[in-house]
């Protein structure tokens, strides 16, 4: 069974929020900058908790940040 892919718009959202740095986003959601880099490169699929924290950091809904593709 092919694995579902979860894409995200973190890079665009950072840009839309006054070009928020990866470091700043990381410190707001309580993770490392390396995790933000891995997320933007599609190399990491976060936990539900971290996904919600990221959405709240941008003030948007979860689905505006993460898109689920089957």
């Amino acid at each position: 069974m092919p694995r579902a892919r979860i894409n995200n718009s973190i890079r665009r959202l950072r840009f839309d929020h006054n070009e928020m740095t990866q470091e700043e986003l990381a410190s707001r959601v309580g993770c490392t900058r390396q995790t933000i880099i891995a997320l933007e490169q599609g190399k990491y699929v976060p936990s539900i908790e971290l996904a919600f924290k990221i959405a709240r950091a941008f003030g948007v809904t979860l689905e505006e940040v993460f898109q689920y593709e089957e």
Binding site: G30, C31, T32, A38, K43, V45, E49
Partner: protein, 152 residues
């Protein structure tokens, strides 16, 4: 590079050096029965003790850094560490069981009912080294892997 990644590289460096030192030691002496030569036996044990002491020191330093600095590790590091530990435990367990079986069969075939006391100690050391090396290699592979899932 996160502190966990650096720790994995250091772990690989320490135990990679230990394995290389074993190869050099055994190739100089030309025998696997290292305990038959007192100097070689002590060198072998000192190398092992130094590697495990370095591992302890490294982990203490890493723990202090993690507690003092803010958000130096997160769920991705923990997820990778958990997966790497599972792989390492399985691999070292398999290696230890395989070595014990080979040892028992070899001695049974030769008609002996006694095994030199050095063999079990050697197998424990090999098990520990396998555990540490597999954990470091798996963690580094997972950090470079295409996609990691937090909840799988």
């Amino acid at each position: 590079m996160t502190i966990s990644q650096k720790t994995a590289w250091a772990q690989l460096g320490i135990f990679g050096a230990l394995v290389i030192s074993w190869v050099v030691l055994f190739s100089i002496k030309g025998t696997v029965f290292y305990w038959q030569d007192d100097a070689m036996k002590m060198t072998f044990y000192w190398f092992c003790a130094a590697a495990f002491a370095a591992l302890v020191v490294m982990n203490v330093v890493a723990t202090i850094l993690k507690s003092r600095l803010n958000a130096v590790t997160d769920e991705r590091d923990r997820s990778i560490f958990r997966k790497a530990s599972l792989w390492a435990t399985g691999t070292s367990y398999t290696v230890v069981v395989a070595l014990l079986l080979v040892l028992a069969i070899t001695y049974m075939d030769s008609g002996s009912e006694t095994i030199p006391v050095y063999f079990p100690l050697f197998i424990v050391i090999v098990g520990g080294v396998t555990l540490t090396l597999t954990q470091a290699i798996t963690a580094l592979l997972l950090y470079g892997r295409k996609v990691n899932h937090a909840e799988s």
